[in-house]
Amino acid sequence: MASFTRRTLLAASGTALATAGAGLAAPALAQGRYPNRPVQVIVPWGAGGGTDATARIVSSLLERDLGQPFNVVNRTGGSGVVGHSAIATAQPDGYTIGMITVEITMMHWQGLTDLRPTSYTPLALMNSDPPGVTVAQNAPFADIRALAEAIRTRPAGTFRASGTGQGGIWHLALVGWLQAMGLRGDHVRWVPSNGAAPAMQELAAGGVDIVTCSIPEARAMIDANRARALAIMAPARNPMFAQVPTLNETLGINYSTGAWRGIAGPRNMPAEIAGALQAALKRAYDNREFQEFMSSRGFGTVWGDAAQFASFMAEGDRAMGDAMRAAGLARG
């Protein structure tokens, strides 16, 4: 670990010099093969989180493959707006790319930004994680059926759930699940939290009854025997958590959604550079190291090339718009 990071330090300090040098030598080098100088990979979320970890493994594989440093830069804050905006507004020269996340199909419906999936050159979809249903270890529900029954029979507002901020992906997952059960989206009261980890802490402390974040995010508390996962909202079980059933097999509800992550650049990137990156990303995705890393964390892997990623996002954007309007979370 230490040696890995020290290498990054050298690479990073080299970047400053290389960038300065490249600025002077740019005209001469412009004809060279892409990439001929370090590439910046912007991550809209903080260090240590799942998006950061995914971006770092992808970057290290790209670096080895393409022979130039791929430096991960965390641009956090503003519920993801700051980082997503930094990717979209960068020069579309292939030297600034970034990891975009499901929030790009949600934030503009909330009126937080004008950015939407079409503000980017999509390169590759790499990962998607379904929401889970997690309760405290000592909760009186044996399984998801018991919980669903309790939610249905008790009056609205009896149960409280958390997992992310108001209108975040796990909030919408709850709303979608409740609607699929024929209930109103606010039948279970949403308590906004600052991400999955604080929500799991609230769950363990008895502050909320349900957390709908993904199972990998809930894993630390589950491993510490403070929480139990009852279900995942996905078409199939996750091999890492094979004992957790899907909503479909238990409740007969065919509802699934997910938080996805993909690599994209600013709009109007040159086609040959986008093509080179897409090919390299495909090699990274197929790399055993990437697959092993993702499965060790319990993260789902999904591949979509540039065109598939674009249509996946367009479809997701429309679905999110409908869901958020139905839940009263859309603005304007």
Partner: protein, 499 residues
């Protein structure tokens, strides 16, 4: 046990040990320079730690601050200029001792009791933090709401300034904390359509501005003056220490205990610990008339206290994410940057990193003995560093550090603006520590309040329904009552004087 072995592996790595050695020398230098503080040492380390894994990054901060707090005693004893505000409480006493011809003993007492006090603070941290984390794992937003209230109240209660000015500073901090995306409804506030403002006012960049840039603005005149003074050479500083310890061992224990507790209280750090323990020492001394004439007793209390406060301040920072002093406020920023989000879960998820921090704390206090000796011996050369080389370097570090916090020029802009603003506030006698705490805890206060109201369906009694939340709430309200009583009492006295 596994985690402890892992921690040893993490700390006794050549790179980490190298970082500790370099930051120890750096901390000694910054602390010994009048006008440069331990908080500034931490702020200047931010850009460097940015490129390091968590353990060396935290190690650098722990080591540099421990050294800086001790090193502040050196110019206090030699020039009557405290190197850091933490030595201000006993600078006169210490200088008086030097004038009596006891510079050797004075330096020895400062060094050895700094080391010992630091170790007491660490021992309490190691014992208390994991236990507290066990309790804190059951804390919900109700408990955190009251903890935030208590922390903010302490910040005002413990400042040396006028309570009104303390509250003014606190409310400015809380106002700044509202900039950005509203934590509960997700709506942007005070952003004026500016994307960068959506991330809010970065508190580490703010602290770099308030604690470093405002100091540069103040002219750092003391740094220049220091160069002109001829400093005496120090002889054998360890002679006579045994007698001091036998006579004043209780002062040492009391000073360390007070220091640790004050350090653990949010908003008050080593400087206030030193003031309070010096006052306590004088109040309970058998020979209070000797205080101020170069008497060693008060020095034992307060030099132990300011170093023990460092360890104490890490307790709430690690367990609750509530900084115990301005140094740990920066540490919290670094922890988030390294993905080691503070809170009770960090003790279960990354125990090896926490143990590594503990080990570095012990190590730092142990190497303080030889390094402190070397620093005292070379004080003459150190205090002559020309200001025109030092200040531009500090500004450079400030710029790099604030850039690193946001990865954009936004951090630099915040740093410069807050530097000027902080200087303006301090020139008018408004303390800046409550502002920082308001900025750091504002989001927690607001978010937990909204969460509580949602969970309880607007029922106010729920705030004191859970036993620990109730106790914390009562404690907060009691402190408010004391403050109001003090305030109105003061007003009454003033009115009487006017009449």
């Amino acid at each position: 046990m596994d985690a402890l072995i892992q921690a040893f592996g993490l700390v006794f790595d050549p790179f980490v040990l190298g970082v500790i050695a370099v930051s120890a020398v750096f901390g000694m230098f910054v602390g010994a320079m009048p006008g440069l503080t331990a908080t500034m040492a931490t702020a200047l380390l931010v850009p460097v730690t940015f490129f390091m894994p968590p353990v060396p990054a935290l190690g650098a901060i722990v080591t540099a601050t421990a050294m800086a707090i001790f090193a502040g005693d050196i110019p206090a004893a030699m020039l009557r200029m405290p190197g850091t505000p933490a030595s201000a409480a006993y600078a006169d006493e210490s200088y008086a001792m030097t004038k009596k011809g006891q510079l050797n003993l004075n330096m020895g007492v400062n060094l050895v009791f700094s080391v010992a006090g630091g170790l007491v603070g660490v021992a309490v941290l190691i014992a208390a933090a994991p236990l507290l984390a066990e309790v804190a794992i059951n804390f919900s937003s109700f408990e955190y709401f009251w903890l935030a209230c208590l922390g903010l109240t302490c910040a005002v209660f413990l400042t040396n300034a006028d309570a009104v000015k303390g509250f003014l500073s606190l409310f400015i901090g809380l106002l700044l904390a509202t900039v950005g995306i509203d934590p509960s409804a997700g709506a942007p506030r005070f952003t004026f359509g500016e994307v960068e403002l959506m991330q809010g006012v970065n508190f580490v960049a703010t602290m770099i501005g308030v604690f470093a840039v405002s100091e540069l603005l103040r002219g750092a005149s003391t740094v220049r003056d220091a160069g002109h003074v001829v400093v005496q050479q120090v002889g054998d500083m360890f002679r006579g220490l045994g007698a001091v310890f036998r006579r004043y061992w209780f002062n040492f224990l009391r000073g360390s205990a007070i220091g640790t507790v004050i350090g653990a209280l949010p908003g008050a750090g080593a400087d206030i610990a030193a003031w309070i323990s010096y006052a306590v020492s004088k109040r309970f001394s058998k020979e209070p008339e000797k205080f101020g004439t170069g008497h060693v007793e008060g020095i034992v209390d307060s030099t132990s206290a300011n170093n023990s406060a460092l360890g104490g301040a890490w307790i709430p920072a690690l367990v609750f994410g509530i900084p115990g002093d301005s140094i740990t406020a920066i540490v919290i920023g670094v922890l988030y940057m390294k993905g080691m989000n503070p809170g009770p879960t960090v003790f279960t998820e990354n125990p090896q990193l926490i143990y590594a921090v503990f080990l570095i704390f012990i190590l730092a206090n142990l190497i303080m003995l030889p390094l402190g000796w070397a620093a005292i011996k070379s004080a003459r050369q150190m205090l002559r560093t020309p200001r025109n080389i030092l200040l531009p370097m500090i500004l450079m570090f400030c710029i790099v550090g604030s850039f690193a916090m946001t990865n954009s020029l936004y951090g630099v802009a915040i740093m410069l603006a807050m530097g000027i603003f902080g200087w303006f506030l301090e020139e008018h006698g408004v303390p800046v520590a409550p502002l920082i705490l308001g900025l750091v805890l504002g989001e927690m206060l607001e978010q937990t309040f909204v969460q509580n109201m949602i969970k309880a369906d607007g029922n106010w009694l729920a705030f004191v329904d859970r036993p620990i939340a109730g106790a914390l709430g009562v404690a907060t309200l009691l402190i408010w009552a004391v403050m109001i009583a003090r305030g109105t009492g003061l007003l009454g006295a003033r009115r009487a004087a006017a009449a």
